[in-house]
Subunit: 135 residues, 3 copies
């Protein structure tokens, strides 16, 4: 009886903490060189933040032809990326893509981190309960 | 001991109720103006209903260039949308897209509802356990 | 008290078993005839296996225009499909697509199985906890 009470108390406290910190987590996949898609995807992230509130974590993973979004001289979204990064949005470039396309790492935007594999990152995020948005 | 028994009884009853009401929930994202994609996506929903049975809830969320699917004079799928809506499929247009594209709300199909943000809706549905299909 | 102890013991043992058999499950959707996408998607699966390790289960579901990936005389990925299938990757063609497009089942690659509905399969996999990758 006592242990059951403890369990319910734990659930109750958890639900209060959760209500005060409603966190939404979203992983966004971009693997196209279509600059209209880049524009739309980043605009959508702002909309997402407005709709879901400050406690929304967003990570953008680019791989394949999407890598251009995070490359100086290729991206059309430099100011928008800086703006989103300042709000906590993370940008990750796929190291497989960097290696396969012989991309100079110095051309990656300063806001960009990397992940060993873009698709593996997207899978791991989903496994950790993140919602998935594909562009 | 008694509380443990209660817990297992609860789980047992839940599983019976679940078996009698197997509900599948699917959120479908359409953000392209490609009418072939519109056609394929809606045909797929019929196939989904046939394969998964009557207790399948489907919500179609359109945003960006996908908004045309739910606009009178732009959609190529009027009869199919009426048919699917009659079976309970929900159609939701993104209000951000409506505002940004200065769309007259009177041109929305009568079967169409709206959501504040299309992408936020898709995230919230995934968080609530809905499967996700991207077109 | 004893039952609570049993529960915690069970959770503890489960977590050990899980740590020794970290299984990643990924369902990959291909519904385009774009052969560059086919090439990229299958290359990504190899990258996924490298990144996530041997205990990664991947199922590729093709439907609509994606069916060509698994058709002899249409696919551009025959050796890669054989290579991936040998590592346990499953390939499933949508029977709705086969019927609608009047495809001769004998033209399906030998590595290809079928599913009644491609989209239903993708929904069922997500419901069973599989991560989703859309191409």
């Amino acid at each position: 009886m006592k242990s059951t009470l403890t369990l319910f108390l734990l659930l109750f406290v958890s639900s209060i903490v959760w209500a005060q910190n409603p966190v939404h987590k979203v992983v966004v996949q971009i693997n196209t060189s279509d600059t209209l898609v880049w524009h739309g995807a980043l605009k959508n992230i702002s909309n997402l933040q407005t709709a879901l509130g400050a406690n929304t974590q967003v990570e953008v993973v680019v791989h394949g032809s999407g890598i251009g979004l995070l490359l100086d001289g290729k991206t059309t979204q430099k100011p928008k990326i800086a703006e989103l990064a300042a709000t906590g949005v993370m940008f990750k470039a796929c190291e497989n893509t960097i290696r396969e396309r012989k991309i100079d790492r110095n051309t990656l935007l300063q806001q960009s981190g990397t992940v060993p594999s873009g698709v593996a990152e997207i899978v791991l995020k989903q496994e950790a309960g993140w919602a998935y948005l594909k562009y």
